[in-house]
C-alpha cells in the first residue's frame, strides 16, 4: 500500500461513527428533496421562469390599433383590385389611411382617415436629395401648386402601360444570364408587361412581374399542356409565396 492510501485510510478511520451515520441520513434527505423537486415543480417554472411566460402572454394579448390590408379588401374589394395593378400595389391600406383595427370591428362609427392634402403625398413624393435615385419625386413648390394631388392622380392606381420589343440593350446582364438558362426560349414580354414609356423614363414606368402562382403554374403545374418543363404540385409546394420569391426566374435552379 502506498503512503497516500495509508494516510487516507487513517483519515477515514478517524471520523467518528456518529458523523458517518449522520452523513448517510443527510444524503438520503438531500436525495429526497431533489426527487420531490423534480416531480413537484411545474414545468413552466423549470423551463424559463414563470414571469417570462406571463410576459409573453400579456404581450400576445395586447390589442394593436393596426389591422391588415387583407382585412380591408374583404369589404373594399373594388379599391383592392384597382390598387393591384398600379405602382401602389405593395402599399398597405393603412400606410395612408392610418390604423384601421377599430374601423374593421365597427365600420359605421369609426371611419379611418383619408388624407387629401398635398402635404400628405409629399411626405413620400417631395424631392429629397437623400432618397434613392428613380423614386418618383416632385418639387411641391412648382408642381401644380395649391392643386390637390388626387385631382389628377388616382391614389390607388397612378400608372399607364404598353409593350416594347427589345430589352437587352439595357438589361444585358439579365439577357446574358437567361441565355444559358432553361428559360432561354421565353420572350421578356411572356412574363413582364412593359409600360409604353418605360424606354423614355425607365425608372418611372417599371415593367410588371408575375403576380400569381398560377402564372408559373401554366407551364409548371402538374397536368399542364406544355411539354418539357419540370412539374411541381402547386398545392403543396412553396406555401403561400410567389414562385419568383424563391426561384430566380431568369436562371431557375432545379431543386
Amino acid at each position: 500500500m502506498t503512503k497516500k492510501a495509508v494516510s487516507m485510510k487513517n483519515f477515514v478511520q478517524k471520523i467518528p461513527e456518529q458523523i458517518k451515520r449522520l452523513s448517510i441520513v443527510f444524503f438520503f434527505l438531500a436525495a429526497g428533496v431533489l426527487l420531490a423537486r423534480a416531480y413537484l415543480v411545474p414545468t413552466e417554472l423549470k423551463e424559463s421562469g414563470i414571469h417570462r411566460s406571463k410576459t409573453i402572454q400579456t404581450e400576445i394579448s395586447r390589442k394593436g390599433s393596426y389591422s391588415e390590408s387583407e382585412v380591408c379588401s374583404e369589404c373594399h374589394d373594388d379599391k383592392d383590385t384597382l390598387k393591384r395593378s398600379g405602382f401602389h400595389k405593395f402599399l398597405a391600406c393603412e400606410t395612408c389611411h392610418g390604423p384601421g383595427a377599430k374601423h374593421a370591428e365597427d365600420p359605421e362609427t369609426t371611419p379611418p382617415s383619408a388624407p387629401r392634402e398635398r402635404d400628405y403625398c409629399s411626405l413620400c413624393h417631395a424631392y429629397d436629395a437623400s432618397r434613392p435615385t428613380g423614386f418618383p419625386q416632385i418639387n411641391p413648390l412648382v408642381h401644380n401648386p395649391l392643386k390637390a394631388c388626387i385631382s389628377c392622380h388616382e391614389p390607388h392606381d397612378p400608372k399607364p402601360t404598353e409593350v416594347p420589343r427589345e430589352c437587352s440593350a439595357c438589361h444585358g446582364g439579365i439577357s446574358r444570364t437567361m441565355a444559358i438558362s432553361p428559360h432561354i426560349q421565353l420572350d421578356c414580354t411572356t412574363c413582364h408587361e412593359v409600360p409604353k414609356n418605360h424606354k423614355t423614363t425607365p425608372r418611372a414606368a417599371k415593367p410588371s412581374k408575375p403576380e400569381s402562382r398560377e402564372f408559373c403554374g401554366k407551364c409548371h403545374a402538374e397536368g399542364s399542356d406544355v411539354k418539357g418543363p419540370p412539374r411541381v404540385d402547386m398545392k403543396t409546394h412553396g406555401e403561400k409565396y410567389l414562385c419568383w420569391q424563391c426561384h430566380y426566374p431568369h436562371m431557375p435552379e432545379a431543386r
Binding site: 436525495a31 431533489l34 426527487l35 423534480a38 416531480y39 414545468t43 423549470k46 423551463e47 424559463s48 421562469g49 414571469h51 417570462r52 406571463k54 410576459t55 409573453i56 400579456t58 404581450e59 400576445i60 394579448s61 395586447r62 390589442k63 394593436g64 390599433s65 393596426y66 391588415e68 390590408s69 401602389h88 405593395f90 402599399l91 398597405a92 393603412e94 400606410t95 392610418g98 390604423p99 411626405l123 413620400c124 417631395a126 429629397d128 436629395a129 437623400s130 432618397r131 434613392p132 423614386f135 412553396g238 406555401e239 409565396y241 420569391q245 424563391c246 430566380y248
Partner: protein, 245 residues
Amino acid sequence: MDRRSLLKKLFFSIPLLVKGDLFSSSEEGNPKTQKTKSKYGMAVQVEKCIGCARCVEACKIENNVPKEHSYFRTWIERYIVKKDEEITVQMVDRGAKEYAVPSVEKDILRSFFVPKLCNHCSNPPCAQVCPVGATFLTEEGVVLVDDNRCIGCGYCIHACPYGARYLHPETKTADKCTFCYHRLKSNKHPVCVMVCPTQARVFGNLNSPASPLVRVKRMKNIHVLKPYLNTRPKVFYTDLDGEVR
C-alpha cells in the same frame, strides 16, 4: 443479496433516477418547444428607404410610444457624407415642425436614410446586464421586457450598443421594439414592415427557406450593425454604407 450489496445498488441508482426524470421533463414535457420553431428576423433594404417615417409614426400609434421627440422603438437616421468626408447624422422626424429637409448642398458627396430598431441580438447585452432578469430572449428570438419585473434602473439602456431602448415616462420601465409580438401570433407582420411604402423592411422566419427574409439574405449583400461586438443581431442590412455605425 445481502444487505450491504442491496444498499450499495440503491445508493448508485439514486442519481440515475433523478437525472433521468429531469431530462425527460425538460425535453418532452413542454409542448411549446415542439410547436414553435420559428426564429424571427428582419432585413432592412437601405437602398429602398425613402425616409418618409411612416414606420416611425405607425410604430408609435401601435405600441403606445410617447409622441414626443426622442422616444422611439424604431427611428430613421439621415446620413450626410460631405466631400471632406465629414459625416453628419440627423434624426428624421417629419411630424416635428422645426424639422427641415436639408436643401441640396454642393459639398455633399452622398446622403441616404438608415432605418434603425432593436436588433434582437441572439447574444443580447441588455439581457446580460439586467440585475433583475426582466429582459430575456424568447424561443422565437425576440428580446422582450417584463414590465412587472423591470425596476427602471436604465442599465440596459446604456448597455444597448444600438441605442434601441428608452425609459417609458409613464410606466417608468425600459421599453423597446418587440417585433410587434402581439401581431406575430396571428401571422401578421410588424406594423413598420406593413406600412413601409417601398418594402424597405422585410420580415420573416429565419428557419423557413421559403420566407422572403431568407431570399433577401441569399440574394443581397448583407451586413449587420457593429458585428465586432459579437451580439449576433437578427436585423440584417443590405448594401449598407461603410460609414453607418
